[in-house]
């Protein structure tokens, strides 16, 4: 297929979801107008757009607060997760202790510990939320990176042994590149998760300056369109984190990107 025809086909494909999105918004707008739905139930997209503009500065502030919390938590969680994964690869005992915990934690609603973090640390700082995000990110990153370091193609390890390669060389040349793709799988999940954790933690207490608190307060004041505008801000923040992760993956693993495009 020629490059031009290929591009045309890809554009056509991309238009379908865009079309669905536009159709959805249109139906929403008409539905609210025609059925005279009360604004406190479901505001019009146009009203939301208006509020988005009108409160842009405030929304941006809240996004920055939640976004910073998410970012700090994400970075700390990544560093901790990767470090412990390496330790687990090297010291079997670490692996055997941490892995069952990670499995159990994935089943539990661990975000509830946010409630005690405010008491333990401080109700007036952002640290509890960052810590919460870090904990959740840690488990996601740990599980995936540990898997990547240990579950390596058998032929590749045999090959390296036939080269009389040392453990360090095997780590550098096989395990780490293998773990890289697992790391990015984790990142694409952990980054949006950090955002969610950052503002859900606000529901449990602490300062009321982030997206979670703003949405709740606007809802309780019956300013639904404004609340929706904050929701849009939250969605954009989540998309930003996810998009950055995808870009980071493409940058770090260019061979993967070409493969997917096939």
């Amino acid at each position: 297929m020629s490059a031009v025809a290929d591009l045309r086909r890809r554009t056509q494909h991309a238009l379908v979801p865009i079309g669905f999105g536009v159709a959805f918004l249109t139906v929403w707008e008409l539905f609210v107008r025609v059925r005279h739905i009360k604004p406190y139930l479901l505001p019009r997209p146009s009203a939301i757009w208006g509020e988005l503009h009108g409160n842009a500065t405030l929304i941006r502030k809240a996004v920055i607060v939640s976004g910073t919390n998410a970012l700090v938590g994400l970075l700390v969680g990544i560093v901790a997760g990767v470090a412990v994964a390496f330790a687990a690869g090297h010291f079997k005992i670490v692996n055997r202790l941490v892995t069952p915990m990670a499995i159990a934690v994935s089943a539990m609603p661990i975000i509830v510990i946010a409630s005690i973090l405010y008491n333990l640390i401080s109700a007036t700082s952002q640290v509890p939320r960052r810590l919460m995000a870090a904990v959740i990110v840690f488990f996601v990153v740990f599980v995936n990176v540990a898997k990547g370091l240990t579950q390596v193609d058998r032929t590749q390890t045999e090959l390296m042994r036939s080269y009389a390669a040392s453990d360090v060389e095997i780590l550098r040349k096989v395990r780490i590149p293998n773990a890289l793709s697992h790391f990015f799988t984790a990142l694409k999940v952990a980054a949006p998760l950090a955002v969610v954790t950052a503002f859900v933690s606000e529901y449990f207490g602490g300062l009321q300056d982030g997206l979670g608190a703003k949405i709740t307060s606007n809802v309780s004041n019956s300013r639904d369109a404004v609340a929706w505008a904050y929701v849009v801000g939250a969605c954009l923040l989540g998309l930003l984190f996810y998009g950055t992760s995808v870009l980071a993956e493409r940058f770090a693993m260019p061979w993967q990107a070409r493969r997917v495009e096939r």
């Binding site: 915990m101 089943a107 639904d224």
Partner: protein, 285 residues
């Protein structure tokens, strides 16, 4: 079995670590590199591990005949039922969506990007909004109950992993298997029932695990934003407010929430064991 032993060992280690820190840490918390991050170790903030367990047997409210254990258990049961309702609804919606997307390529093209993006976007931000419908939304003679908001939010969080997992599973049969069904002149829905659905079981299991966990989180967070009474989320907030007078109390609610999560995971594991009893292990995604 050895894993279970190590899990218990890990928990014990955590408990020991807790007490050690409590013994040596600063009573009023402290700073590391200027950041206030060290937890406070005094009893009002950081109760002893055994105090947490003792709290279960205390009466819930002074003079009440109900122990905290029974209150927490009841709360967990309440939330659990809502989470299950949400999970069930999420499965229904997710499967329906997946079947539509598997059937109509255009639906897949148009909806899948949103389905994928929704996992990256904090849907739970909508929770307070959905919750506000409680009592206000009336369709015909049917009024939206507040508890429905909790179930709806649960369903909302649960249906996306199901939709993705189901779609993968429904489209997983090999071309050879599909051609076989074609050779029998089987209509699409028969192929669905006899081939695609059974093939999707190994993909649904990990999706269900994710969905169950999401449903529990959704229920608890919904309860917190609603102020819905009776569930464990509410208990967590109430007890954490009593933090200074009865610091160990909130931990009982936390354990209850953890137990709920594990119970749901256990349920899914049972379902998995039943559904996969004649099969090799689940597919890795």
């Amino acid at each position: 079995m050895v894993d279970a032993a190590f899990f218990v060992a890990g928990l014990a280690l955590l408990g020991v670590g807790w007490e050690v820190y409590k013994a040596i840490g600063p009573a009023n918390g402290g700073k590391v590199l200027g950041v206030r991050i060290l937890p406070r170790t005094e009893n009002t903030a950081m109760p002893h591990v055994w105090a947490m367990f003792r709290a279960f047997s205390k009466p819930e409210v002074r003079g009440s005949s109900r122990s905290i254990l029974s209150v927490v258990a009841a709360g967990a049961w309440f939330s659990g039922r809502m989470a299950l309702a949400g999970l069930f609804l999420g499965v229904v919606i997710g499967m329906t969506l997946a079947i539509v997307m598997a059937r109509y390529k255009i639906a897949e093209r148009g909806l899948l990007p949103y389905v994928v993006l929704s996992q990256t976007v904090p849907l739970i931000a909508l929770a307070p909004l959905v919750v506000s419908w409680g009592g206000k939304l009336k369709i015909g003679g049917f009024t939206w109950q507040r508890w429905m908001s909790a179930a709806a939010i649960s369903a909302f969080l649960a249906f996306f992993p199901i939709a993705i997992g189901a779609l993968r599973g429904l489209t997983s049969p090999s071309p050879a298997a599909l051609e076989l069904m074609d050779s029998y002149a089987a209509p699409w829905w028969k192929t669905l029932v006899k081939l695609r659905l059974p093939s999707s079981v190994p993909y649904l299991v990990p999706a269900l695990k994710l969905a169950a966990s999401a449903a529990v989180v959704g229920t608890i967070v919904a309860e917190i934003s609603t102020g819905l009474r009776g569930g464990i989320g509410r208990l967590i907030i109430e007890y954490s407010r009593e933090g200074t007078s009865q610091p160990a109390k909130v931990f009982t609610a936390l354990f209850g929430a953890a137990a709920l999560g594990l119970a749901m995971a256990g349920l899914v594991a049972l379902l998995d064991a039943f559904a996969s009893r004649h099969r090799p292990r689940e597919a890795s995604t």
